[in-house]
């Protein structure tokens, strides 16, 4: 009955494991990553070489960027399913406008619709309190419609992906993908926002206990609006990079990555209920998924099995996190 808090030594084993998992979520993740790579190497000996590592990283980066959107929104207990559309819009516009304008202008133009989507999301979620899932799904529908209309207006002008984006997306310097030049600063920025800014602190606090933040004087809608605009902007940037990587504009370019990005954030230890998680975990999560995708390809698993697996992962991991949060 003293004032002391329970220390891990006193707790039973199950609880200690839970605590360890929630304090150091990166450790089991990295173990899992290494295990997956080892399994891959056993199934297909010799696959582990510099080229494969470079390729894995190259494809993991767009995924990790998009998972960054999910991480940020999930911290508040939200989710952003419009990132696929935002990214595709940015990619499609940069490719088509790249044929008319100089690359810098094209890229700036490409980010505007993404920001618009984020703005509408933010208003819907923050002010009208629509569930983020429904809201972002709705805006992504509208976005796809707009893109289709846009496509018809530019059908004649052709497409040209700016060389800079291709260099960034596909180039390799001294064995390292050039995309890291974009990714490392962006990742650093995300981690900095999460750990060292007032805004980041509010994201965690809102996801943890929105009522408490209200009592502390936080205006929910301001944070949410800024958050969803940021998320869409990030998705737009990701779209630009992805355009450089894929090089063929299409109307569903980034859409297949949406589900995977949710899974990456969830695996990386971000709680879908909010208040818990970090971008570092998400990056590892994205790598794990990329390796898993290779593994499933090597095993010749069809696309359907992959989706089922990802769905099951999201559910299982969420249920597991629920148990950890219940730790009281």
């Amino acid at each position: 009955m003293s004032i002391s808090a329970t220390t891990p030594e006193q707790a039973p084993l199950g609880r200690r494991i839970k605590r360890f998992m929630s304090d150091y979520p990166l450790v089991p993740l990295i173990i899992l990553l290494v295990l997956l790579v080892l399994v891959l190497n056993i199934i297909q000996p010799g696959i582990l070489n510099q080229r494969w590592v470079g390729n894995t990283i190259k494809f993991a980066i767009p995924l990790a960027l998009m998972a960054g959107c999910q991480t940020m929104t999930m911290l508040t207990g939200g989710i952003d399913l419009s990132v696929g559309t935002a990214a595709t819009m940015a990619a499609f516009i940069v490719a088509t406008q790249g044929a008319i304008h100089d690359p810098a202008t094209a890229m700036l133009m490409a980010l505007v619709p993404a920001l618009c989507i984020g703005f509408v999301n933010g208003i819907g979620v923050g002010v009208f309190r629509v569930h983020p899932l429904i809201m972002t799904l709705g805006t992504s529908l509208i976005g796809v419609g707009c893109l289709q209309v846009y496509q018809r207006t530019v059908i004649a002008s052709g497409a040209k992906v700016p060389d800079f984006l291709i260099w960034l997306g596909t180039g390799v310097t001294w064995g390292f993908p050039n995309a890291l030049l974009l990714f490392i600063p962006v990742a650093a920025l995300l981690i900095f926002i999460q750990k060292r800014t007032g805004f980041g602190r509010l994201l965690y606090a809102i996801g943890d206990n929105e009522r408490a933040t209200r009592l502390a004087g936080v205006k929910y809608w301001q944070v949410i609006l800024a958050l969803y605009m940021f998320s869409s902007l990030l998705a737009g940037v990701m779209g630009l990079l992805y355009m450089g990587l894929i090089r063929a504009p299409s109307l569903s370019l980034a859409e297949p990555l949406v589900l995977t990005s949710v899974a990456a954030a969830v695996i990386g230890g971000t709680s879908i209920f909010g208040g818990r998680g970090s971008y570092t975990g998400t990056i590892v999560g994205a790598l794990i998924l990329q390796v898993m995708i290779t593994l499933l390809t090597v095993l010749q698993m069809p696309e359907g099995a992959r989706r089922m697996l990802f769905g099951a992962i999201i559910l299982a991991v969420t249920a597991a996190y629920l148990r950890i949060i219940d730790d009281k």
């Binding site: 003293s2 004032i3 808090a5 965690y204 943890d208 408490a212 502390a216 936080v218």
Partner: protein, 512 residues
Amino acid sequence: MATEPLLDATGVAKRYGAVAALKNASLTLRPGEVHALMGANGAGKSTLVKILTGAIPANAGRILVRGQERDIRSPAKARQAGLVPVYQEPSLIPDLDVLSNLRLTQTPVEPFRHWIKELGVPDLDLRDLARDVPLAIQRVLDLARALAVEPDVMLLDEMTAALPANLAERVLDVVKRQSQTGRSVIFISHRFVEIAALCDRATVLRDGATVGVVDIEPGIEEKIVELMLGAKVEKQRVAQKKATEGAAPVDGSTRIAVRNLKVGTKLQDVSFDLKDGEVAGVVALEGQGQDELFAALAGSIRPDGGTIEVDGKAVRFTHPVDAIEKGIAYVPGDRSEALAMQQSVRENIALPFSAAFRNWGPIAKRREDATVQSAIERLQIDTRAQREVQRLSGGNQQKVTIARWIAADARTLLCFDPTRGIDVGTKQEIYKLLRQLAGQGKSVLFYTSELEEVQLVCDRAIVIFGGKVVDVLPVEIADEPALTRAAYGLPRDAKADVGILAEPHAAPEAQP
């Protein structure tokens, strides 16, 4: 045969994690009696009722209905066993019409019609949605629904609260007559008048255990108050003297002036002043409008009437941030309301610093460290488990919620039962801290459900009953018995002297 109890519960216990809500409760119900269940806030009344009605399972104890052990682990099964509750919050489904509500609980319609007529609700269309029926009538319908299934035992939780006088009278009348048919009623009420008029016996709970069963007879109120409080009054007198000596005489200027404040149906008409350098106690039984009062002052809800003035200027709070900008901070009793449980101590304390848009940028680590650290030291928060606030003990969690506003340098604290469920040591520290704050010219509005705290901390006690201020007691006379009487709406000039109440009394166990 006739003396076999209808309901016989012994040794009932319920734990929530480490907290024992009910330790050893017993309740025996004779056929045909109206039995009052009494106890101070937190004594375990509602937990016992929930167990008896199948809403929650008990951890221990034996419950016999008509001498048989029955399965009452769900509300449906409790109903089948003949235990039917009427809760304080009506349990009619708001979006179903009355008829469907009857069907849902398999209540026969004709007896129901009979009872609503008896209860004085003449014109009711059974096709009306429950949500369109006024709240008071809903409670009567809930009662009629219970009566219509002719249960062995009916549990009435604060049945007459919020009923207009004429309806309440009819209800009491019907309940009284009901008992003449050999069925029994458990009656929970804060109103001595009703209990005296209606009940045959009373079971008194204190700290989760049954401490006495008494026959209701004239003058029994004092005995019941005594049982509810226990034999701890004398010791308190000694301690409180010391604490009040340190209290600075209140002569500060008026910080907050509340006039005729009205919020919803609970808070009717409340006026008082809170001065700089004062700790004003608020005392009330559960649900008398104190929650609404604090929420209105904190800017969480908008009042429906009356005014709030801060430093002589009228204010209208639309968001807690408005109150915070005026230096008014709210410390809720339920710590899970104020804390981001998965975040660290530091993040919780510094949360208000980031609230405004202009403070969303990089955190000035060093300055924040200094502020947070000094608040932690001032409250002596045990920071060994500071990574996640949910791992702190309850006392330390509460300290964090207060430290947040010490760090933010709030001028007024609205503390809503801040010592609920925390250890004695921390309580003492919080008392000391609140007195210190008052000594620095800050003001504190302090609601407490533990009445002995009033004389330890406060300069005076504002007593609210039925949404209105019924008394303001100077601290010298605001001892537990006096506050209890006042909180139950009894007049101040009580019959018994404190000395008598404080005497140890025999037979705390249940009488046969």
